[in-house]
């Protein structure tokens, strides 16, 4: 009896504690989610009552070349970002393995870029990449050339990929480093006895055994690419010719600049579906179940 009462009290406390989270979620997630779903099938301009329009917003969004361009831009970004971010993260992870004393300090330093303000970073990189900025001044002095980092469609996307990669490489590196720590040394010793070259060890042992961490980084990279806003907004303004316009910027401008929130709601749903689909495809293609026998 006594035991039952104690359990009941604990349940009550647990429920109460969970309730605060549930209330928070209901207000800031569930309500906006249903409102978004409602908006996406209606016509609403902030001050009137939403009028049901069925698939009108869907058709309009799928026929909007600017929106389709913004989705394509995500793929263009990923093509540049993933190799840079993975390459950089692997270098960080392998580098950390060779750091003796002060490893925690070095790891924290890598995280600094990740916690820095995106706005501040973007403003600094805008100056660095400017056609009259220090990077181009250096290139002009050495090679007599200036690179149009922010005015050429491909280079502008590369510039954004470099800035975002700089921000996340340390974070991804720490994830990979945690994976490296879990690989038993014995496997490498056995491979060495079999005269496996460093490249073979990397391709046959390290990368396969890091699959879980690599997948995690890949999923994070996909999420970053769909959530991109600050860097293109401040560095290129989405240009030149919408070539660096990300979906989030498109949604923001449609909702709050063009004052078409219903259209923007449909865009955000399609972007969520696209990001989910891309993650599923990536997992199907690259995820492996790795077990140490």
């Amino acid at each position: 009896m006594n035991r039952r009462r104690r359990l009941s009290r604990e349940s009550w406390i647990g429920l109460s504690l969970a309730l605060s989270y549930m209330v928070f979620t209901a207000i800031f997630w569930v309500y906006p989610f249903f409102w978004l779903a409602r908006l996406s099938v209606t016509q609403w301009r902030f001050f009137d009552e939403p009028i049901f329009t069925g698939t009108r917003n869907l058709v309009m969004t799928l026929q909007d070349p600017q929106f389709l361009q913004s989705l394509l831009n995500v793929l263009r970004f990923l093509v540049m970002y993933v190799p840079i971010a993975f390459g950089g993260a692997l270098v960080v992870a392998f580098g950390l393995q060779h750091v003796g004393r002060g490893k925690a300090f070095v790891a924290l330093c890598f995280l600094l870029s990740n916690v820095s303000s995106g706005v501040a970073l973007s403003l600094v990189f805008t100056k660095i990449f400017s056609s009259t900025g220090p990077l181009n001044a250096l290139l002009f002095d050495w090679l007599g050339i200036r690179i149009p980092w922010t005015t050429h469609p491909t280079l502008a996307m590369l510039a954004i990929a470099l800035v975002v990669a700089w921000k996340f490489v340390g974070y991804y590196g720490l994830i990979l480093y945690s994976g490296l720590l879990t690989i038993p040394k014995d496997i490498y010793d056995a491979a060495r006895l079999d005269h496996a070259s460093p490249l073979t060890r990397l391709a046959r042992i390290t990368l396969p055994l890091l699959n879980a961490q690599l997948m995690m980084v890949l999923v994070f990279a996909i999420l970053v690419s769909f959530g991109l806003f600050t860097e293109p907004f401040l560095i290129t303004g989405g240009g030149p010719g919408d070539s660096t316009m990300p979906p989030q910027m498109m949604i923001y401008e449609t909702a709050f600049r063009r004052l078409q929130p219903s259209h923007a709601a449909m865009m955000s749903i399609l972007v969520s579906v696209a990001s989910y689909a891309l993650i599923v495809i990536a997992r199907r293609l690259f995820e492996r179940k790795v077990t140490l026998a």
Partner: protein
């Protein structure tokens, strides 16, 4: 046990506070005072503090209380949020004409032209030449408080060192100066492209277009008009500057007038205060020239773009008439107009700035301010359109950027930009 109860109470109190924060929509509007939002900057806030105190002391109408627009980002977002949640004030300043048109299309702002005393205010403030740019179908959604024409700042010392005793007035003058001053990819005659944002078009192509066309509109209803002689002149000038390498693709790294990276650039009166604070030595060397065109405007100042901000009265206000009385008093009082000028350095939107003895003292001591004041009557605001962003994004992507990179001739770029604008407007309207 006590700790658990305290935690529970804390959790419940937190949830209640969260729910309490969601105030009901369309909160009851006050009728005992006029609520005013002003631009969130020190200079304007200082002006409104004095103006509101004087009004309240006079007791001529309902008392006014003001705050700065509570924004961390753009004023437009904050105003929209306030309107949606029903927390908007009665009056709001810092509204650009395109946003005012959007608000009017959504039925959120009053037609100020229908307010009693509107005609008298326009006459008293000498705004007859200014208001047409703010009138659409006979309706005025926002009344301009100030008008900031765009003009070209030149480094007088650099002009003089290269044989120019006065700022360039025509394209040929600029070319002649660039020929002498420019150095391949390291020193430029003039900053031509203002930036990559849609709003930057006000400070390059649209300014050049107004100067070339004598202030003719670039948009009428659902039709873009700038594929004409003036558009070809303005685009031709920009194209020539980029092809010759007399201007850079961007000047994001630094303020080019300070180092002399560029000797000239389009600037507004708001830059005076910025330069006075950060680059006072450069400001002392600046000479303000007119917006350039193929032929110099004569007689008098030529046309240019005006970056103006206006004030709106929201339809939800229960004290709209009284709010307009306050507005008419603030805008109509010459003493307050002078105070505005002294505090902000921005020219009040009135056509008699250089003729009115009230302002003579100020302009005697401010040659740059005088240059801007001379252009207030001839400065044109942006086209009144709900679709300003789309129009200027097309202008950026289809006209200015191809000219920067040389992908298209001015004629091709103009034709493409205008065709795409027309198509976009046809779909939207």
């Amino acid at each position: 046990m006590i700790a658990r109860r305290a935690m529970l109470r804390l959790g419940l109190a937190g949830s209640a506070a969260l729910l309490a924060g969601c105030s009901p929509k369309n909160a009851e509007k006050r009728t005992d005072r006029i609520r005013l939002w002003v631009a969130p900057n020190e200079a304007e806030e200082g002006f409104w503090k004095i103006a509101v105190a004087r009004w309240n002391a006079l007791g001529r109408g309902l008392p006014v209380s003001f705050t700065t627009i509570p924004t961390a980002g753009s004023s437009e977002d904050t105003v929209l949020s306030a309107l949606v949640s029903g927390n908007e004030p009665d009056l709001c300043t810092n509204v650009f004409s395109g946003f005012a048109v959007q608000l009017a299309a959504l039925g959120q702002v009053e037609n100020l032209a229908a307010m009693p005393g509107y005609g008298a205010l326009i006459a008293r403030r000498h705004m007859a030449e200014i208001t047409p740019g703010w009138t659409q179908d006979g309706k005025v959604s926002a009344l301009p408080i100030y008008s900031s024409p765009t003009l070209i700042w030149w480094r007088a010392d650099l002009l003089e060192a290269h044989g120019f005793t006065a700022p360039p007035r025509t394209y040929e003058d600029v070319y002649a100066f660039c020929e002498r001053y420019g150095r391949a990819r390291s020193r430029y005659g003039m900053q031509v492209a203002a930036g990559r944002s849609w709003a930057d078009r006000w400070f390059d192509f649209i300014s050049f277009y107004y100067a070339a066309s004598g202030g003719q509109p670039y948009l009428e209803g659902a039709r873009a008009l700038y594929d004409n002689a003036a558009g070809r002149q303005a685009a031709g000038f920009m194209n020539h500057m980029f092809r010759k390498g007399w201007t850079a693709l961007d000047f994001d790294a630094e303020e080019p007038l300070v180092s002399g990276l560029a000797a000239g650039g389009v600037r507004g009166p708001w830059d005076v205060e910025r330069f006075a604070r950060i680059y006072p030595e450069t400001l002392a060397r600046i000479e303000v020239g007119p917006m350039i065109a193929r032929t110099a405007a004569s007689p008098g100042p030529g046309a240019t773009f005006s970056d103006s901000k206006g004030v709106v009265i929201f339809k939800s206000s229960k004290v709209g008439r009284q709010a307009f009385d306050f507005l008419a008093w603030v805008l109509g009082e010459e003493d307050l107009n002078l105070l505005w000028l002294q505090r902000t350095g921005l020219s009040p939107a009135r056509g008699d700035l250089l003729d009115n003895p009230h302002f003579a003292g100020y302009y005697r001591t401010s040659p740059i301010g005088r240059a801007y004041a001379a252009h207030v009557s001839n400065a044109r605001p942006p086209a009144l359109s709900e679709y300003t962003i789309d129009i200027q994004k097309i202008m950026t992507g289809r006209l200015v950027e191809p000219l920067m990179t040389g992908q298209k001739s001015p004629e091709e770029a103009l034709a493409q930009a205008v065709a795409q604008t027309d198509q976009m407007l046809k779909v939207q309207m």
